[in-house]
Amino acid sequence: MAKKSEMTPEIVAEHGLSESEYEVILDRLGREPNLNELGIFSVMWSEHCSYKSSRRHLAKFLTKGDRVIQGPGENAGVIDIDDGDAIIFKMESHNHPSYIEPYQGAATGVGGIMRDVFTMGARPIALMNALRFGEPTHWKTKQLVSGVVAGIGGYGNCVGVPTVGGETNFHKGYNGNILVNAMCVGLARADNVFYSAAKGVGNPIFYVGSKTGRDGIHGATMASAEFDDDSDEKRPTVQVGDPFTEKLLIEACLELMETDAIIAIQDMGAAGLTSSSIEMADKGGVGIELNLDKVPQREPNMTAYEMMLSESQERMLMVIQPGKEQLAFDIFEKWELDVAQIGKTTDTGRLVLKHNRKKVCDIPIAPLADDAPNYDRPHVKPDARPVLAASDIHETQDYNDALLRIMTSPNIASKRWIWEQYDRHVMTDTVDSSQSGGDAAIVRIHGTNKAVAITTDCTPRYVEADPYEGGKQCVAETWRNLTCVGADPIAITDCLNFGNPERPEIMGQFVGAIEGMNEACRAFDYPVVSGNVSLYNETNGQAIPPTPAVGGVGLIPDLHKYATLKGAKEGDTLVLIGETTGWLGASIYLSEILSREDGAPPPVDLSLEKLNGDYVRQLIRNRRVNAVHDLSDGGLAVAACEMAFASNQGMSLSGPVNGERHGWLFGEDQARYLLAVEKNSVNPVVSTARTKGVSAQIVGTVGGDRIQADGAFDVSLEKLRAANEAWLPNLMSGGS
């Protein structure tokens, strides 16, 4: 044992542990921990690894379903998509590192989420990302956008996994804390999924991948604290990505997974060797002994503390079947990867580390997981905001100008500048991607005629206005987007980005959003199978808008029957599914035209969502529609413009069928879809809707080269498209 360390309250505090947490450590060990042990407790009990503020609330989520093979608790969620195929997916945040060092922060975010997926036996087949930046005019925004986008592309493009979609928002609430949430979707055989629980005693533990360096030490602790003006000093804790090694790791691991050599496998993510070894041991109920002298090291004289807390990227830990060591060595050496047998499983239930022939850590594993803090933090519900009637909201006198302003506003403008830097086509199974501006990306299952649909969504201004309704809306919008392409929505992953949970009003947002999300999951039978929580997204006491990003996955069983928004044809009739009340509270119209962010957000009627969505999906399956688009930000007018751009057709809107004109065109009522329907299908589409109790209204026609609405706007399609495309390139090329 290392010499008894002299722990001071300062050392304990520097490790982010509270006095009461330290008391528990003393109690369980029956002695003072040494520095290595303290470091291990510190990262394992950090918010990032232990979910100490969120665990009890996450437990409320629906996590089971007919197609769920593995829910939360493993590296990623696993769902069944028939024919022996499984989809493995997860979304994860890399917010803090991306703010400090945008290129590497975003790149390693992509690398980390891919490892979570291929660790379980899946070949990654698609990447998505949900990004939130500060105000476009903020001095740091351009640099962050360009670094984050280059980092995401630099990693995903090299590894050769298509980045097929995502979303990008700008809001002043993210000036000091951007959000970079990356999602990966992989394909595995349902009977060849790999898990992290170590089994057996005396089984060899292999380390594979990059060497361990001094990068990223205490990254998990950093991700569990607020920022202040000195945050730039945290730069050394950001990891550096090596996509080349990641690509070799994917190929080597998938090759080894075709044999029966692997008992358990876990990637080294946050808290590196510490959390990977402890999680494997804890899940399998075994002990682990590691000889740190065997760990491949990038620099000389690394201490045990540094090795255990390093977050060097592209590393995996596995328990290998005894007798298969040579097989594993051969495959990793073929791929020119560092590989070493660094330890073995034991029956002690303890984590024992040896370094320079000395025992430098000897702690029981169970308390690290079982006794991890689990706080019921106080939370208060925000005051309900008043419902604003459209008739009380100023109507623009210049609809042409209003439409132009909305279509060139930061959240609506084309993000081509971003997605043209991502390889969207590699693997040649991309059916639809950001390229068409559609609701969900569509990726074919290689060699088959079925596909997965993938989307990410969140409307933070709704969640801020009403966490419960906003939480419902995030889930409902993903469900709606998957429906728009004709997919059966199956399950979601989530990335819950919030401020400091020690503040009751932030905790209130968190609890409200989860309850709303869960309500929607249950209404749609649409479980949560994986996800992560990112708290402390605050700078100088200013929290981000609550942003529970949701990634949804669905199945298109037959690629002869899907839809996009590209297919509208001249002469088609526009049919609006769903009721319009003209809801302008918390809308884009309100923020962009009137510079107001007040009012209650649109309520989400989940049974109506289901009714309307199921009908739209049925129409797609019966090939009754040429194009489908959901109504969200900016309402009917924006949906019509986006369909017009993608289909290269003008649109003429009639109406208002009811209510105020600005509410009709820009209102953001939920559960609505815009359909382009061939003339001779209009009657059956509308009359069948009526028999099902679905609201279906004829709202216009497709054709020509203008975007028009009765008594409101009339602008050239090309002019509007050019303006919509120009906003982001202009921002990025302009002076700061």
Partner: protein, 220 residues
């Protein structure tokens, strides 16, 4: 017809190339590891696939061009073996000295991925004989280093020799003379930055790439 796709560490369009070859020949190509010293007997056409061999960590294609298998392919190409390189494969062929010129970083310094309209400059070649000369095709591009450069003499020689087979309609990367694809003097080694293997299925948005594979395979 037996074909082969070379796999380098971090090739990532190797499977895509194999799918295209199988679609056209009806036969799976051989996947040849870069450390092999000799092509298997009977291979009539070799594809150097796209990707980021060795992470593009030196110059794109530079390390891969020194692989054992490339030495053998280069020797055999001098005796007439048909070889095509797409994207990273094109970069490897220029680095190996099997095609003239070099691929530099894109002019705007950014990775670019988009469907690109190309003009077929000549149908008088083994790689383009099935296209109409001066017709337009669309292949996707996806690269960071696709900016074709050659010195004045080389440029004038390949232009005069009819070695430029494809030009960009809207140059995405700053390539001299809008050059997208070239062939060697012998007419048996071809490289292009765009991806014909990503345009072989209506689901890709078009099938313009098929004729490129058909063109060369018919001559072997």
């Amino acid at each position: 017809m037996q074909t082969a796709v070379i796999r380098f560490p971090a090739s990532n369009c190797d499977r895509d190339a194999a799918v295209a070859l199988e679609k056209v020949t009806g036969r799976k190509p051989l996947m040849v590891w870069h450390r092999e010293t000799e092509l298997p007997a009977g291979v009539g056409f070799v594809v150097m696939p796209g990707g980021f061999s060795y992470g593009d960590y030196l110059r794109a294609g530079a390390i891969a061009s020194r692989s054992p298998i490339v030495r053998d392919i280069k020797a055999k190409s001098k005796r007439g073996l048909a070889v095509a390189g797409f994207c990273n494969g094109f970069q490897i062929l220029t680095e190996a000295g099997m095609l003239p010129g070099a691929l530099m970083r894109n002019k705007n310094l950014k990775f670019v991925c988009r469907p690109e309209r190309l003009k077929v400059e000549s149908s008088n070649s083994r790689f383009t004989q099935k296209y109409d000369a001066k017709s337009e095709v669309t292949f996707p591009v996806a690269h960071h280093d696709g900016n074709y450069f050659a010195d004045k003499d080389v440029l004038s020689r390949i232009e005069k020799g009819g070695q430029v087979l494809f030009r960009y309609a809207e140059n995405p990367n700053g390539s001299l003379n809008d050059i997208a694809g070239i062939v060697n003097e012998g007419g048996n080694v071809f490289g292009m930055m765009p991806h014909p293997e990503r345009a072989i299925d209506p689901m890709h948005g078009g099938t313009d790439g098929l004729d490129l594979f058909k063109s060369i395979l018919e001559t072997i």
